[in-house]
């Protein structure tokens, strides 16, 4: 593990009108580390992912990717925002997977995975195509390369979205509730792809409502509430030994539902086998 974290978030603040979405969030993510972010809806965890990717501007604090300040530069001793082209280049070094997949419906699956490589990273189309096919194979969808996104199931679309985000060799992958829009029986196929990435050493931040997954995949787990990081620690510390009463309350509300879901899955596996 090197000294400079891949991503350094320092005291980031963000508000939407009167609503404070992020209230001084600090977090370091190191090379190869998987950080899962849990918390009630409206706690700011999705906003955090969107801010890191510069889809939302931040009101204060600072973020660094490999030690490089995100979105701003020093010019004659003053900070000023980067021009769009440089911000775009910074975004190109990160991968993002959205809750709603957001595949481009006017392109084939293959072109969805090719295009950024050519447009943003200037790869030769033949090389980009080869890489895209390799990635589609990795997420188990090589046979769907020529299909249109709308003809795929939600789980398949999300796997294509993961391949698309991976295509540009990102330094870090951000997942914004990647399974929240999926039918329950399609969740596992997406989670197993993410788990596979984690084992391959990809640096990741995963915002999720899947508690058992958040625990299984994480090196470190972060609990957010009301725009603040309330508690951070190993999965064991967070799930078995929550220190703050707010985390305890959150987990108790969740454990009933989570247990129910995994029971259903067990039941399904028993009946199908």
């Amino acid at each position: 593990m090197s000294d400079t974290p891949v991503l350094r978030i320092r005291d980031v603040r963000k508000r939407f009108g009167d609503h404070v979405a992020l209230d001084g969030v600090s977090l370091d993510v190191h090379e190869g580390e998987v950080v899962t972010v849990i918390g009630p809806s409206g706690s700011g965890k999705s906003t955090l992912a969107r801010c890191v990717h510069q889809l939302e501007s931040i009101d204060g604090g600072a973020m660094h990717l490999d030690g490089e300040l995100l979105g701003y530069e020093f010019h004659r001793g003053h900070l000023r925002p980067l021009p769009d082209r440089r911000v775009a280049a910074q975004r190109g070094r990160m991968g993002m997977v959205f809750q709603q997949f957001n595949l481009f419906p006017h392109w084939s699956v293959l072109r969805n995975v090719i295009e950024a490589q050519v447009l943003v990273h200037g790869r030769r189309p033949e090389d980009a195509r080869e890489e895209a096919l390799r990635l589609l194979q990795r997420v188990g969808l090589a046979d769907k390369a020529d299909a249109h996104p709308r003809t795929l199931s939600g789980g398949q679309q999300q796997r294509v979205a993961i391949a698309r985000a991976l295509a540009t060799n990102p330094r870090i992958m951000l997942f914004d509730e990647p399974t929240s829009a999926l039918d329950p029986e399609l969740v596992d196929e997406v989670l197993s792809v993410v788990l596979d990435l984690a084992r391959g050493g990809m640096t990741m931040i995963i915002v999720t409502h899947e508690m058992s997954f958040a625990r299984e995949v994480a090196d470190r787990c972060v609990f957010m509430e009301k725009g603040q990081i309330v508690e951070t620690g190993t999965p064991e510390e967070i799930f078995d030994n929550p220190a703050s009463p707010r985390l305890r309350a959150f987990l108790s509300r969740f454990s009933g539902r989570a247990a129910q879901i995994s029971d259903e899955r067990l039941l399904k596996e028993e009946t199908t086998s």
Binding site: H53, A88, R93, F104, P105, H106, A116, L119, H148, T168
Partner: protein, 286 residues
């Protein structure tokens, strides 16, 4: 007395053997349509004042075809310029820089309010307001200038007037198309490292086209017919050409039918083109 319908069926019934219901209102509508059609055809054929031989004589008259050519040329020029300015105006209205958004909104409000006929006459008479058109530094020295009346021919007046009008309408159509594209698409494009322009051109606009094409098609059709307005500034379009002929021969109705026939032909062709475009941009949506 009607027979009460029986809904208790014998065992082994199969609805595939059902006969269609008789729908009396449909029969009535069909008969009414047939009668109207017959009456109209009878009127067309038996009324000698249509002077069909005259229509036939002038349908391919060189002057009429030249007028048709001028109408088509004007439509194509205004269509292209209007679309380009329309896209720019729409992008401007959605710009994050308020003054640009307001300026574009102001333009659209003003030029949608002015009747195109009024604009044509205004631009044709620009020489009164501005005798010479200067090129130079604003509020500073002028390098060259041209006399307005030699620059503003009836063609340039027509192109300017119709383009300004068309651009305002196209701006609204394009804006509606852009707003119809899901915000997640732009997020995804930017997230992958596309610049603002790449995400607009590669991702947003192609998807907006699905919403833009149908109303833009109607807009082009009404533009083609709108070019007939230029006859007021003595420009030799299709309508003006037949007017010139009937002012000489007094065969007003047959010559209007000649113009009518050509407008019908061109609009039909445009409609077919529109349908093909719709199919092209609709792919991947279903």
């Amino acid at each position: 007395m009607s027979v009460a319908p029986q809904t208790v069926a014998p065992p082994g019934v199969d609805v595939a053997s059902a006969r269609p219901r008789i729908r009396p209102l449909r029969w009535v509508a069909g008969v009414v349509l047939l009668v109207l059609l017959a009456q109209f055809a009878w009127f067309l054929v038996t009324n000698p004042r249509f002077e069909w031989p005259v229509v036939g004589r002038y349908l391919f008259d060189p002057n009429v075809l030249r007028g048709l050519g001028m109408s088509l040329l004007l439509t194509v020029i205004v269509m292209l310029l209007g679309s380009v300015f329309g896209v720019l105006l729409a992008a401007g209205r959605l710009s994050g820089f308020r003054p640009v958004a307001w300026a574009c909104g102001f333009y659209v409000t003003v030029f949608r309010s002015i009747p195109p006929l009024l604009q044509l006459i205004f631009w044709f008479n620009l020489g009164y307001l501005l005798p010479r058109i200067p090129l130079g530094v604003p509020f500073g020295p002028t390098f060259v200038s041209w006399p307005t009346n030699s620059v503003i021919s009836s063609l340039t007046a027509a192109v300017i007037g119709l383009t300004l009008h068309e651009a305002a309408y196209m701006a609204e159509i394009v804006r509606a198309g852009i707003l119809a594209v899901d915000g997640g698409q732009r997020d995804a494009a930017r997230a992958m490292g596309f610049t603002a322009r790449q995400s607009f051109v590669k991702v947003v606009l192609p998807q907006a086209m699905r919403v833009i094409v149908p109303p833009a098609g109607s807009e082009f059709i009404s533009l083609l017919k709108g070019t007939s307005l230029v006859s007021v500034i003595a420009m030799a379009d299709l309508l003006y050409s037949v007017q010139v002929i009937y002012n000489r021969t007094y065969e007003v109705v047959p010559l209007l039918i000649v113009a009518c026939a050509w407008y019908l032909v061109v609009v039909t062709a445009l409609s077919l083109g529109q349908r093909r475009l719709e199919r092209h941009f609709g792919k991947g949506q279903r």
